[in-house]
Symmetry: C2
Subunit: 484 residues, 2 copies
Amino acid sequence: MDQSKTPIYSALVKHRNKENISFHVPGHKNGSVFFETAKELYKNILEIDVTEISGMDDLHYPTGIIKDAQQLTAHLYGSKSSYFLVGGSTVGNLAMIMSMVGTGDQILIQRNSHQSVFHAVELSGAMAIYLEPEIDIETGLSLGVSISVLKEAISRYPNAKAIVLTNPTYEGYGQSLYKHVKIAHEANIYIFVDEAHGAHLLVEDNRWPMSAMKAGADIVVHSAHKMLPAMTMSSFLHINSERIDENKVRQYLKMLQSSSPSYPLMASLDVARAYLAKMVSDGCEKVTNELMELKKELMEGETWHLAPPIIGDYRQDPLKLTFLTKGNASAYEWQENFESYGMYPELVTPNHLILTLPFSIEGIANTRKLCNDIKTCLFIQNFLEAGVKLSNIIYNKQHISEPILSLEELNKVSKKHVYLEESLGEIAAETVTPYPPGVPLILRGEEIQSFHIEKLKFLKNNDVYFQTGDLWKEIGICVVNYSR
Amino acid sequence: MDQSKTPIYSALVKHRNKENISFHVPGHKNGSVFFETAKELYKNILEIDVTEISGMDDLHYPTGIIKDAQQLTAHLYGSKSSYFLVGGSTVGNLAMIMSMVGTGDQILIQRNSHQSVFHAVELSGAMAIYLEPEIDIETGLSLGVSISVLKEAISRYPNAKAIVLTNPTYEGYGQSLYKHVKIAHEANIYIFVDEAHGAHLLVEDNRWPMSAMKAGADIVVHSAHKMLPAMTMSSFLHINSERIDENKVRQYLKMLQSSSPSYPLMASLDVARAYLAKMVSDGCEKVTNELMELKKELMEGETWHLAPPIIGDYRQDPLKLTFLTKGNASAYEWQENFESYGMYPELVTPNHLILTLPFSIEGIANTRKLCNDIKTCLFIQNFLEAGVKLSNIIYNKQHISEPILSLEELNKVSKKHVYLEESLGEIAAETVTPYPPGVPLILRGEEIQSFHIEKLKFLKNNDVYFQTGDLWKEIGICVVNYSR
C-alpha cells in the first residue's frame, strides 16, 4: 500500500479547491460566517471543516475515503483493523473495555492506569482487581506490571475476562509484552493495552520500547496527538487479534463518539499516519543517535539527574526527558525557570519534570541548540528547607487488591467527610486524582491506607493540583459512614 | 458582562504571540512537526492547539479562562451554568441522560429523537417509553410531542423520571415548551431538551421558534456547530434549573469526554458565543425580513413547494429551507443539480431536500443572489414513473409504546434473520437507522409493524443510505428467534 497517500486530507483539499457553496452545517459555511476577530486564524481549517456531504464518507459506517485511510493505518501498524477516534484515547479506552466486559465480569487493571480506564470499568459495571506496577527504587518511578504479579493475579482470579495494561508509562518506560500476552491468552483472558504514549513505537531499533501491537495484544489504543503530530483528541484504536468481536467494539465507538465527527481531526490522523510511515521507512537511526547524544549532554548536574534510558527490562522512549530533583531542589522552581525562557514542559510534580521532544530530525537538532538554556533552567537558587522526598517511593505493598465496596454498593450507603489525618481504615467514597498525569491516588470503594495518607500529605504540602477538586483539603475526604 | 470578550480565544492568541517552545504534547509542537504537504493548511490552527499548560485552565475542573468563557455563555443564555462540550451534542445527550436516570428508571422519549438519545438510554439501563410526534399530513413532516400525548404518557407512567424532547426538529420546526415544562414539573418529572438545531434561538422575534431555555427546561443541549459558527463537534450543555444535581452531570461529562480536550474547538465555542451575542444585541429584524423575502421568492414551483414558516403551533427556523417534491419528482435529482452548481445541501431524502442558510446579513444577501440558480436546480427533467409518495405519512398510529423486550433481555435470547416481507410481528434484535438525519426507524426490542415494513420498502426502493448497514437487505432483519 502506498503510505504516502492521504485519502481524507486529499479529498478535503480537493473539495475546498472547488470553492463550493455550503448549504449545510456547520454554520460557519466554510469559514465565511465567523466571529470577525478570529476569522483569519481559523480561515484555513474551516475550509475543510465539513460534514457528511457527498464524497466525504461516514466515520460510523465507512465505505470511501475514511475506510481507505483506516486501511492504510491498519497496514502500517499490522493490525487486523484500525479505527480513527475523534474523542481521544479516552473514548478508545471506554469502547475497548465497555464492549468486551459487562456487569459482574472480573477485570484486572494496572493500578497506575489513566483515569479513563477506571471510568470505563465503572460504566461497564465490571469488577476491578488492581495490580500494582513495579516501582524503581532509584528514581521512584512507577513502571509496568511484572510477570510474577500477572501470574499470581491470574491464579487468584482464573475467571477474569480481561487485563488492561499501560505501556509505555507517562515517563516513557515500556517493557516487551510478549510474555504477558502469552500468559493472558493461555488463561483465555483478553489483553488490552493503553499505549496512548506509544503511537510512534514502530521504530525498528532496540533503543526504543516495543509496541504492544507486535507483542500481539488484542486491542491497543494510541493517542496520535501525544507523540505523533496529529491534532489534540485524535487517536487510533487497533483490533489486533481474531479473539475480538469487532461488531461490539464498533457499536460502542458509534454510541460514544460524536455523530458529527470533526474532519480536520480525522484528516490530521490521516497525515500523522503518513508522517509516521515516512519516518519509519526513512529509518530512525540518525534520529535515535541524536537523541542519545542529547541525553548524554543532559544526564546529570548539581541539582538534577536524568531518568536513565534503561531500567531493568524497561526501555525509555528516547523522546522523553525526565529530570529528577537532587537533594533539596524543587521541580516547581525548574518550571518557573523554563517558562521564563519561553519553554513549556509537559509535566511537573514536586520532584520531577518531563519534557517531550519533537519526533523530527530538525526538531531534535533545534533542541540540542537549547541544551545550555535547559541546564541553566535546571539550576536552583532557592533550595527548600525540608527538601522534597521522592514521592513515588511511598507505595502500596499489597500487589493485588480489590475495592472493598463495588460502585453499585457505594451508591447505596450513606457518606461522611473525615479529615485526612483521621481517615486510616475508612472506605473512600470519592476518587482523588492529582493532575497531571491523571492517575487516581485513591479510588472510590478502596480502603484508605497509611501510604495513601502519607502521599496525599506530601502532595498537599507541595501544592499539587487535583483534578478531582480540593474539597478534601477543607472539609475532609468523603468516606462511607458506617456509624449510621 | 462584556459579551465581546473571548477569554479562551484571547489567551491562546496571546500565548501564540510569545512564540514559545513546546516541550509538551501535542507532538506537532505548535505546528513545527507535521506532514509536509499539510503544514501550510494546518499552520494557524496548530499554533493554538495546546494542552493544559500554565494559564490554559482545565475543562474538567475550570478555574480560569474556561470558567470565564462558560460563565459568559451562561449569562447570554440565562442558564444556571453552561458547559463547553468537545464531543458534540452526542456527549451532551449521553451525559444529560446517563447522569440523571439509572437502571430500571422509566424515561419518556420522543420517538423521532437523534440516535444519541437512544444510545444514552441503552447505556443508562433505563426503560424507554416512546412518544410519537405529531405528523403534519400536508407535508408529511414529523413535528414535536403534543400536550395530549404528554399528558396521557404521564398518566400511564406516573413514576417516569424524565422526558426527553427534540425541539426544533431537523427541518427546523419548534413549538413553545412552556406547557410541557409546567406539566412535567407538576408531575415531578425532569424535562430535557435536545435543542441541537436551536443554539441560535435567542432572537427576540416571534417569527423564530422559541428556545427551551426560556421555557424553563431542566437541561438543554445545543450544537454550536450546526446553526452557530463553531467548529464541528463543539456544543453546549446548559443546566437550567435548581432540580439538577450538577455534580452528577459534571462527573459524566468528565467520564465521557476526552481528558485532552481540543483548544481550537473550545475557543471556537468561545467566539461562537460572542458572535451570537452580537447578533442578538444588534437585533435580527433585518436578517429576519430578508429571510422571509427569500422564502417568498422560493415558495413554490412546478416541481416543488417549500415547507411553510408556520404549521399549527410550530414555527420554522427561518434559516432552514425545506423543499418538498411535487408529483413524480425525485429529490435525488435535485441533489445532483445542486451539486453540479457547486451547492451542497444539508439533507436529501427521496422526497425532500434541506438547505441550511448562513446566520449573517451578508450570507443571506449572497443566498438571495442565488435564487435563480436554486430554482433552476429544482427543475426536474426525469420524472419517476411511479412517483415518490411522501414517506412520512406512513407512521405509527399508536401514540405511546414500549419495547417488548428490554436490551438486557434481548442480549440473552437467540436470534435469527428474516426477510423484510416476512418480519411482521417479529421482535427486532437490531436497530435500523436511515441517515441522515439518523433517527432510528426500527429500534431493538420493538415489535415490527406493518408501517415499519412499508416505510423500509419505500426507503430501500429509493436507495436511501442506512447508517446501521445494509445486511437486512441481503440476509434479512435480525429478530428474536422464539422457535428455539
